[in-house]
Structure formats: structure tokens, C-alpha cells
Subunit: 286 residues, 2 copies
């Protein structure tokens, strides 16, 4: 069975064809331009395969309310050409096969859950720490979805004692993303995060906020695995620092068998979203 | 169909018999003493009814992992007589009917979801603000449960600018419960909350923390209804203050149709847990 997968990112699209076990057979990528031109490039790639379904992980905001008239449409994005674009509807009419759509971070979470670091867990969080902070949660095989999709990057956190930065989030200033995203690090120190690797203080503060965000998620969702990826986490020493801070903040209040197994890096490199798009299609098709 | 319901609280037990629509036909309560004596009082009450199932909402910590050997047992509670007491097992062997068990706050949430303020919502949070802070979440008819049951009262929050209180939580100092429970209010001001009704500052700070806790839950779980009860909320002006702070903190980042319909008081007075215990039994039995 051939499954199509599309990671519709804000700056680039990744298209792939894989089998029902998440193995990618062929893959391509191209910049995100206008909807018409971008989807034409996708069509060109997919046209040489006979696919049975298509899974899509898209940038947002996107309407995921199945009872809504605009279900599957991009909402009020700063990318004006894509604003209110009916992505799901266009893909359905163009490919004439079942099309399933979720956010990019939710499909990334599905990818790690089915084929990656969360493979043997009952529930799994996937969090990406890059320009922004986003997260998805999968439990018992299903992406968690309340009235809206989660916006965990915008929870409010306690300020680090040595941090006087006002925060970089245009909406909330010092929310999680406003304190701990790559953008926040850059604005706090006036230099990009990857030029700050020699400064211990930078990573201590960063680890404190990441641990706090994870602790709040842990007391609310209690995932069996928490997979943390994204550009900022290329600073690999963060994993050990985050685990240590997390245990310190939790202070034995809840039992954690093995924090090294709870807070882990992704296993699918940069392919979690596209593999998750395959999983989305496979699991819904059944 | 007669359903038994038991709210096993740390200081008192409430036992009731109701029908499958959550109507209570008879109810009694008595202090929580030793397990043997308390369950004997329960047995005496229930023995005059022919019940088809029993639902139980219990104080904790309690083992809710169905794969665990100690599933349904009380865990390491400060109430020494109840420590490691196999509550579910004892009830099953005593009553010889199906017995279903969850935490008291989870069953309270089920009660409001099926019969109270969350009746027409797809998903519902129930939070109680009293001596401590606890919360449960029900979506699509099911209590949400990760690896552990939620401990939302222990998330970490930003300190209010005018609040120098170090917090009352023995484990985390200034977590949500350590800043906003009745215990926290009493320790911060040296007087019980109900003696502070004339001091606006008390309730402004309280509303700020409650709004922040709700905002963090909202960006993670996105409930359609958030029902807030418990002793502290008897200070009814808090509802309007919390709603105002919540909208201010959220700052239009997510759409909220009507905050007066999102953040609401309970509708079942103090019967949400016992009615929820009925719902737990009815929905599982089907």
C-alpha cells in the first residue's frame, strides 16, 4: 500500500511516498510560495505514484473543527497568500483519494509515537523548540484535541531569578515561548543561540524554562514519553540539564521511574512530521 | 435501575443511591474513620437497596493504573489506617456487583459533565479550590488519564508583582496550590479566607493566580467548559474577576466566544462527586 505524505511548512514543503509501516520510499522538498504554485509542485511529484491515501501536517493556524464550514482551511496567517486557503478541500478534489490533515506538530508527534522515540509508550508528547515552541500529545493512538488544538508554547511560567528579560512573545511577553524559544534567546542576548554555546548561563536559564514547561505538562497530561526536538535542542547538553532541573522542580512529588527514559530526543531526525503524516493516513484509513 | 454511589472523602464519606439519570433517591454521610468501620457504615446503608453497580470517587493518592497489581488501592496517604488499603478489591468482594472507581475530583468532573454545568459541552474541566487545588478533565464522555491521574494543582506559575509570599506547598512552595489554595491565603495573611472578604487586594491576587492556572490548562487541554468550585469560590465575586484576568492574560491570542460561558460555577452544589460516581457506574456498565 502506497501512502502520500505532505509536510506543509511555512517556509518549505516536504512531500514523500511511503508504505504503511512508515518507511519512506521517495521524498522531495521545495520552498513554500503561493498555494497554486506550491501545490502544483506537489502534484508533479505525487503524479508518478498510485497512492491510496494522503496525510498532511500543515503550518497553522488551521481550522481542525470537523463541524466547522471551514474545516481544513488555513486561518489568519501572516502569509497573506495562504490566508483562509481551503487546503483540505483543494487536496481532496485534486487527488480523489482520502486526505487526512492535522497540524505539523501534531503529525510530528504521531511520527515519533508510531515509529520513533515514543514507539512503545502508551502516550507521548512531542515538543519542538525553535523559532517558536509548539507541542502535540498522542494518547492511545489518537492525537489529543480539545476545542482548539493545543497552544502549549503560550503557557505562563515563573521567571528565573537571574533573568530580567521581558520576553519576546508579541501576545504574552514572558510566556513559555517568549522566554525559551530560539527567538527569545536571540533577543535576550542580542545574538543567535548557536553563537552562545560557550556561555553556561544561557543554557542554565534555558533548561530551567524547558523543565518548568515540561513539569506543567506532566502534571496536566502525564505523558509516558516527552520527546523534545527543534533547532534549540541541537545544543545537546540541554537534555541532561533539563532532566536535572525537571527532577528538582518536581521534588519527588510524583514518582518518575527513569527520567532519562521520560525526557528524550527525537529518533526520526527531521522526518517526524512527514512520517507522522503517513501514520495519520494509515490509522484513519483502517 | 438502582446505582450505588460512594464519595470516599478524607474526612467524610457520602453514600447515595440513585437512578441512571443521576437523580439521587437517598443519601447519607458519616465521618471517615478506619476502613473497616467506615465500610461497615456504608454497608449498613446500602444493604436495603438492590443495586446493579457501584461507582466510587475516592480521596488519594490512589492507584488507577489498570495493569497494576495494586489497582484500586489507596497509596501512601498521611491517613495511616488507609495506607495501601485495597479499596476496590474489598468493595468488589463485599457487594458482588460491578464496582467502578476513580478519584474524587475526577468523579466530580463526571458529575458536572453529565448532569451539571458541563452538560452540553464536548469537554469539561472541573477544578476545586479549597484546602488544596485539584482538577479533572472529561472529553468525549471519558475521564482523561495519562500515565498518572492529573495533579494540575502543582503546576508552576508566575508570581504576582505585589505578592511576596513564598508559597505554602510543602513540595513546590509557590506552585498553583501553594499560591492560590485556601491554605495559601490563610498562610499569606495569617487569617482564614472567609475573614478577608473586605480586602480587595486578597481577591485580586487570588483571581490573578486562578486565571493563570486556567490559562495554562486552556492552552494545553482546551476544554469547552471550565467549572470552578470548592470553598474558596464561595467568594462569588471571584468568578467575574477571574474571567477578566483570564481574558487579559490570554490577550486575544485564542478566540473565546463568551468567557461567561467558558468559566462557570458548578451546578450540582456539593453533590457533583456522588452524582459523578453514579455516572461512572452507569457509563461503564453500558
Amino acid at each position: 500500500m502506497l501512502i502520500g505524505a505532505m509536510e506543509a511548512g511555512g517556509t518549505k514543503f516536504v512531500c514523500a511516498v511511503g508504505d504503511e509501516n512508515g518507511n519512506i520510499l521517495q521524498k522531495t522538498s521545495f520552498p513554500t510560495v503561493s498555494p497554486e504554485d506550491t501545490l502544483a509542485s506537489a502534484k508533479q511529484f505525487f503524479s508518478s505514484f498510485k497512492m491510496e491515501a494522503l496525510g498532511v501536517g500543515t503550518f497553522g493556524p488551521v481550522d481542525l473543527n470537523k463541524n466547522s464550514k471551514t474545516y481544513g482551511s488555513i486561518l489568519n496567517t501572516p502569509k497573506t497568500k495562504w490566508r483562509y486557503y481551503p487546503l483540505l478541500e483543494k487536496l481532496q478534489s485534486e487527488y480523489n483519494i482520502p486526505v487526512y490533515l492535522d497540524t505539523d506538530v501534531n503529525t510530528a508527534c504521531l511520527g515519533e509515537y508510531y515509529y520513533g522515540a515514543g514507539k512503545h509508550a502508551e502516550s507521548c508528547l512531542y515538543m519542538t523548540v525553535g523559532t517558536g515552541i509548539g507541542a502535540g500529545f498522542v494518547g492511545e493512538g489518537k492525537v489529543f484535541q480539545g476545542k482548539n488544538h493545543p497552544e502549549m508554547g503560550h503557557m505562563l511560567l515563573k521567571q528565573h531569578l537571574n533573568d530580567t528579560f521581558v520576553g519576546s512573545c508579541p501576545s504574552h511577553r514572558s510566556c513559555f515561548e517568549g522566554l525559551a524559544s530560539g527567538t527569545a534567546i536571540e533577543k535576550r542576548y542580542g545574538r543567535k543561540a548557536n553563537l552562545l554555546t560557550h556561555l553556561d548561563e544561557v543554557w542554565e536559564i534555558e533548561a530551567y524554562y524547558l523543565a518548568q514547561g515540561l513539569m506543567n505538562i506532566y502534571v496536566i497530561l502525564s505523558p509516558e514519553k516527552m520527546v523534545i526536538g527543534g533547532g534549540v535542542m541541537k545544543q545537546e547538553r540541554l537534555y541532561a540539564m533539563v532532566r536535572e532541573q525537571f527532577m528538582k522542580l518536581l521534588n519527588d512529588y510524583l514518582e518518575v521511574n527513569d527520567v532519562d527514559e521520560l525526557i528524550v530526543p527525537p529518533k526520526l531526525d527531521d522526518e517526524q512530521a512527514v512520517k507522522g503524516a503517513i501514520a495519520l493516513a494509515v490509522k484513519n484509513k483502517r
